[in-house]
Structure formats: C-alpha cells, structure tokens
C-alpha cells in the first residue's frame, strides 16, 4: 500500500540564521527512514511520465522501488546506468520542471521527492560502497572531450563505459567546470564533485588539467594526436555586462569572477591567497540561479545587506523556486521591477552606490514575458559598495576562433545538426552551454549523453 501523504517528506536543513553565516551544505539529506517513507509515495504508474521528464532518462520508478525495498546500493546502480553524476543531479537539477513537474502525485498534492531520493541513493553509495569498480575493456579508440563540466564529464563517462579511451581536457587547474567554480559549496559540496570525478577516473577516464583548447592545443592538434572524435563541452564562459557607466569601478564583479574567487579559489577561507573585497552592502543584478548563488555567497561573506536587483517582477524570476525561497529565508532583499542605469564611484573609484529606475510591466515581448518599461521620474539611488553583474554569459571564443570549418551562430554558439550534437566538422560533436548558451547542469548532461551515443555510432 503506497504512502498517500499529500506532502513530501521535508528536507532537513540548517536554520536560515545559522547557515547564512557558514559555507556548509544547507540541505542535510534524508535519513534512511525518511527515504523509505518518501519512496513509498511512488505509485509506480504505467506511463512513467517522470522518466520522459528526465533529460538523461533515469529509470526513476526503478530506483525508487529499490529504496522502498531498502536496497539502497541497488537504487544507486539503477541511477548510475543513466547518470554519470547522481550526487550532483540530486542536488542541483530543477526537478520541479522535469521529473517532479510531471509526477502523477503532483496532480493532487506534492510530487514524489525524486531529487531528494536520488541524492539519498548517491550519498549512500558514496558513504558505504567498498567494492571494486568494474573497469570496462578498452576498445583502443581515442576520444577527446573538451571541458570537464557537466556535459563533458557525462560524455566521457558514457564513452568510457563503452570501452573508449577518453581524455578530458580542462582549462582550469581543477575538473568540474561550473560544479567547482560556479555552484557554491553550501549547495554542492566540492568533496562530492571530486568523488564523482574520481568515479569516472576509476573507469578509465583521463583528465588533463591546465589544457586550454584553442591555445595549448587546437581541435586539429587533437586529431593529429590520434583522437578519432572530439566532443566540445566548453560551456558559456564569457560574462556579459550591461554597458552602463561605472561598470569598471573597483567593486564591480561579474558573477563568474565573484563566484570563482569564492568557490574555486576559496576566498571565503582565512588562509586563501586569493582576495575578495569585504563588503557591507551588495547589489546582485539579475534573477537567475547564478544571481541567487552570488547573493547568498555575499551574505555569508559578511555583508549586512544584500539585494537582488531584477528588472521584471517576482513572477518572472528565472531562478528555481527553491533557490528564491532559500535566499529570502537567509535575508536577501528582493528589489524587483528595478533596473540599474549607472554605477557611482567614490573619490578613489570604489563603488559607492547604484543608480536605478523603477519598471512596470507592459505588453508581452518575444520571450512571451511582459516587457519591463521604465516608470517616468522613478530614478533612485541605492547605497552599495559592491555590484555583482549576473545577467548571463556567452560562449567562449577560443575554440571557434581556432577551429576552421566549425559553424557558429551570431551569438557565438556552436551549431549542431540535431540532438546527436554533430557539428559542421566531421568527427566533432558539441553540447551543453557551448551550443545552447547558458542553461542548466542537467540539460548539459543530457547533451553530453546524446553526443556520447552518436560518437559511439560514428566510431563503431
């Protein structure tokens, strides 16, 4: 008999007023009892809409059944058949618009906590698994993967499982891409990312850090070095700015820089050699998940007041509902329908304030959302000493500028033929933000997975 409770088992979490002063993980994870209880909420319906809602098609009812039966390692094995990074996805996937968004239990009440169960199974495995990892037999064919982020790691993992000799080339000194430089420790502990990457290494994936493709090596060099296919998962690395006066003042950061200093370079730790400005009042411009991450980091670094400045209304905030809720609980102040027009500096060129106008919503624009229009005479000043621009990123130009015959669109995104990720160059596949522009971890993983299947077809 399934558990007919209309509500999910709540996620145990650190209290807001405690967690907004530390970088430890916010959500603490289900206990075994909670996980079994939640798993019993799954109706095991025939259609399995959740599986279709998952970009990497995890057998969701399958793994949930194993949890209900208390076979936690078995649950992990089911997930691992489809996902290369279960502990990561259980934490950062937008389940509400994917698997959980289409769960039958969501019609009346809350859907099954699929993400929380996925996280539970993955954490159980990471804490308890002592067995030998099965390393697939090599087929001797070399594949190069550019970028050790979600797309690249997924592609590499899937190909390694099929026996390919995979090398991942990473520009930074640490593998993980956005999982290590972007998403903060309190949302995704870095020890979890490194464990997932160790898992990939154990099945034979090689990771070469400090290799900037487009500079240290080109795509053509990779083919010359004997790689038979190349997957480009280099992400959307180039930060955008608003092009308003004052953006080069001291104290204005791109979200990428702010988060990289905090997460990759550990600037929040006393002993880190990498500096970050100490701020009292911070404005984060933008309304996506990255903006929420930046705002919550700023709070934890000791800022007294942190604002989210967003030009549309709260309903249009692109961030996940859960992230917005967490941010509010931690004391982040939302200034919606507000748009910066200028950043003002003091006599030493440090940020002292941000000039904004109020907006109201007009007719819908091409995105279908109501276009924000400036309210006459609404100019006002917010005193801040730091501004973080979190208004999106564009793909990095290094690869497209050095790879002849690689078609890109006017935004600089790599053009792919279809879901396989095949580009205009034979043997070159691409996926993730490098193709779509800034999107989510799981969509990038889905693209990496499709490309791995296509590369396998191509090299068979």
């Amino acid at each position: 008999m399934p558990n007919m409770s209309l509500k999910k088992n709540p996620m145990p979490s650190q209290e807001p007023e405690v967690r907004n002063k530390n970088f430890s993980e916010v959500a603490l994870g289900y206990t075994e009892e909670m996980a079994v209880d939640e798993a019993q909420r799954c109706l095991h319906c025939k259609n399995m809409p959740c599986v279709k809602g998952c970009p990497v098609c995890i057998d969701i009812p399958g793994f949930i059944k194993k949890i209900a039966d208390r076979d936690f390692e078995g649950a992990y094995e089911v997930i691992a058949e489809s996902s290369s990074l279960p502990a990561v996805c259980g934490r950062v996937c937008p389940q509400e618009t994917q698997c959980e968004g289409v769960c039958v239990r969501g019609i009346k009440g809350e859907p099954v906590g699929i993400g929380r169960l996925e996280r539970f199974a993955a954490d159980y495995h990471n804490a308890n698994f002592k067995g030998e990892v099965h390393k697939p037999e090599s087929n001797g064919k070399k594949v190069a993967v550019i970028g050790a982020g979600p797309a690249g790691l997924t592609c590499a993992g899937d190909l390694a499982k099929k026996g390919y000799d995979v090398t991942v080339f990473e520009a930074l000194h640490l593998a993980g891409g956005v999982l290590v430089y972007g998403i903060p420790e309190f949302r995704l502990p870095k020890s979890i990312v490194s464990k997932e990457i160790d898992g990939l290494k154990a099945i034979g994936v090689k990771v070469e850090t400090n290799m900037i493709i487009g500079r240290t090596l080109t795509v053509d060099d990779l083919f010359a070095d004997g790689f038979k296919a190349v997957f480009i998962g280099s992400g959307a690395g180039l930060p955008r700015f608003m092009n308003i006066p004052g953006e080069n003042l001291k104290g204005v950061y791109s979200a990428n820089e702010f988060l990289t200093r905090v997460n990759l370079m550990k600037a929040y730790k006393e002993d880190s050699d990498t500096p970050i400005k100490q701020n009292r009042r911070v404005a984060v411009v933008g309304g996506g998940n990255v903006a929420m991450d930046a705002a919550r980091c700023a709070k934890r670094l000791g800022a007294e007041e942190v604002y989210i400045v967003y030009r549309r209304s709260e309903n249009e905030l692109p961030a996940r509902a859960e992230e917005i809720e967490h941010a509010k609980e931690e004391g982040i102040i939302f200034k919606t329908l507000t748009n910066p027009t200028e950043i003002i500096g003091d006599e030493n060129s440090f940020v002292s304030a941000i000039k904004c106008v109020s907006m109201e919503l007009g007719e819908p624009d091409e995105s279908g959302r109501r276009r924000p229009v400036v309210k006459e005479g609404s100019e006002h000043i917010i005193d801040v000493d730091c501004v973080v621009m979190s208004i999106g990123t564009s793909p990095n130009p290094l690869i497209r500028n050095t790879t002849e015959g690689l078609e890109t669109n006017r935004h600089g995104c790599i053009v792919t033929k279809d879901e396989s990720g095949l580009t205009s160059r034979e043997g070159v596949y691409a996926g993730g933000d490098a193709v779509t522009g800034a999107a989510t971890v799981i969509l990038a993983m889905g693209a990496g997975k499709s490309a791995a299947a296509a590369i396998d077809e191509y090299l068979k």
Binding site: N210, T216, K250, N256, M265, N396, P397
Partner: protein, 279 residues
C-alpha cells in the same frame, strides 16, 4: 606538476626560472602569458612568457617579488615543482611587416620586451631598444638586448648607469633626431606606458602596450582583467594583452590594479614572516 629546471637571480628582486612545460613551450609566442599556481591552495597569477625552447620543452619566466605568491615562488628551487602552469594565453605580439621598431622596456617589463625585440630582430626588423631602470643594481638582460638591438639606450632614474633620465626622454630624442619608426612597443609599469603613449601621440606613431591587470582564469571567464580601450570594455586575457596605447584608459587600469592592495600587503607580510620563522 611542472618542474623548475633553472633558477637565476637577475637582481635582488627579480628572478628568472626555466619551467618544464612542453605543451606550453610548443605553442608559446612572444607577447603571450601563462598562469601559474605555486602550490595547492595558491593563487593563480599571470606572468608573461620571457622565452621558450620548443625542443627542450621549457618556458622561461622572469618575475619581480611584489607579493605573497611571487615571494613563495622565489623560495622554490631547481628541482621543485609548480602545481599548475597553463598557457600560452593571450594573443601573440603582431610583428608581421614591421621594418623598424622602437622597443621600450621599463624595469621587470624588460623581461617581456626582450622576447619581442628578439623576434623582431630575427625577422629582419631594425630594432632600437630603450630600457629603463631605477638604478644600476636593478639592470637586467643587458647582454640579451645588446644581441638583438641595432641601437640600445640604457636609462637609469638616478644616472648610476647609462644615461640619467626617463625612457621617454630617450625616445623623444631618437624621434627628434629623425628616426622613423613603424611602431613603438612599450612594456613596463602602467605609468611608463601611459607616458610613452602620450609622447608618441604627438608624433602620430602607432604604439602598442602590454597590459598586465589582475586576472584569475586567463581564458575570458571572469572578466576581472577588463579595461577600457577606445571607450569599449576589453578583456586583457582574450582581446590582449597588447593594445593600442593611444586608446587605453591607463588611469582606470592603474586604479583597478590597486583594488586589493591592503590584502596583498597583509598576505605578503604574512608570507615573509613565515619564511623568516622557517629560517
């Protein structure tokens, strides 16, 4: 890991190192830079490529001890290994078609100016080098510059070596004496580059400067290295590091470089104390 194969002190605060980094050496060109970390937990710092040997697979760096990381680096020895050494980054110096160039180097910037002068010399360009230092004991790479320059002007602030005065004095004199340059390439402290650019602007001589702002990744990701060039925001790491000196907003660049001064000073003192205690 990247092994230090050679370490040589060029003057009391400037050190040269050859680093084993075959992948970087294979592609490096004058004008480009690398990013290194001395150890796990260390900071990422950019340093310009001073020289490279593709056959030996080595890259030469020359650095001045200015902060915690360069202090740590200076305490490393031959045989030690750097945690990270990535590159080459940035665009190489444009040398094609140049027939006569004045290369201006200031202080440790001479370490970056030298490979540019050498490359120009190797492609048959007439090279006039003007190098400036505070005093005699800080002079570096004199023989190297001599070997690749058709004319060398040695300048010191205090007159303890060469001619007393600034590099701009020497440059102005050369131009006024009728030397006609296709281009002036100036590499050194931002303030020096600013004044070289101001000098050449009067004469309408194209001037290239090499910017060295604060940077994290060096691949375009963080945007920390942005500067204003001709009214537009550029990233030194992917659009530069070399820019048209007549268009760069030098005052803004100097301001941005000083952003973390108090932190840097504190870290530097901590690091120095640490090494003192170890002794």
């Amino acid at each position: 890991m990247y092994k230090i194969l050679k370490k040589k002190s060029l003057n009391p605060t400037v050190t040269l190192m050859d680093i084993e980094a075959p992948a970087v050496a294979r592609k490096a060109e004058p004008g480009q830079f690398i990013i290194l970390r001395t150890d796990e937990g260390g900071e990422r710092i950019p340093l310009t490529v001073a020289d490279f040997d593709r056959e030996k697979g080595t890259v030469t760096i020359i650095f001045q001890i200015v902060g915690a990381t360069t202090e740590k680096l200076n305490h490393m020895n031959e045989g030690d290994e750097l945690a990270d050494f990535a590159g080459p980054l940035g665009r190489p110096t444009h040398t094609e078609g140049l027939k006569k160039v004045a290369v201006v180097g200031g202080g440790v910037g001479c370490a970056i100016a030298y490979p540019v002068a050498k490359k120009l010399h190797n492609i048959g360009c007439e090279v006039h080098s003007i190098v400036g230092f505070r005093s005699r004991d800080l002079v570096i790479l004199e023989d190297e510059f001599k070997a690749c320059s058709d004319k060398l002007c040695m300048m010191t602030d205090d007159g303890s070596y060469g001619t007393k005065g600034l590099v701009t004095n020497a440059l102005k004199e050369l131009i006024d004496s009728g030397e006609q340059y296709d281009e002036v390439i100036a590499i050194g402290p931002v303030i020096m580059m600013k004044f070289v650019a101001a000098t050449t602007k009067e004469y309408g001589i194209k001037t290239i400067v090499s910017m060295n702002p604060i940077m994290i990744d060096g691949t375009g990701m963080c945007g920390g290295c942005r500067l204003t060039v001709g009214g537009e925001t550029k990233f030194a790491c992917v659009d530069g590091p070399e820019f048209d000196g007549h268009l760069v907003d030098f005052d803004e660049a100097m301001g941005r470089s000083s952003m973390y001064k108090p932190f840097e000073r504190k870290k530097y003192e901590e690091t120095c104390n640490l090494f003192r205690e170890v002794k």
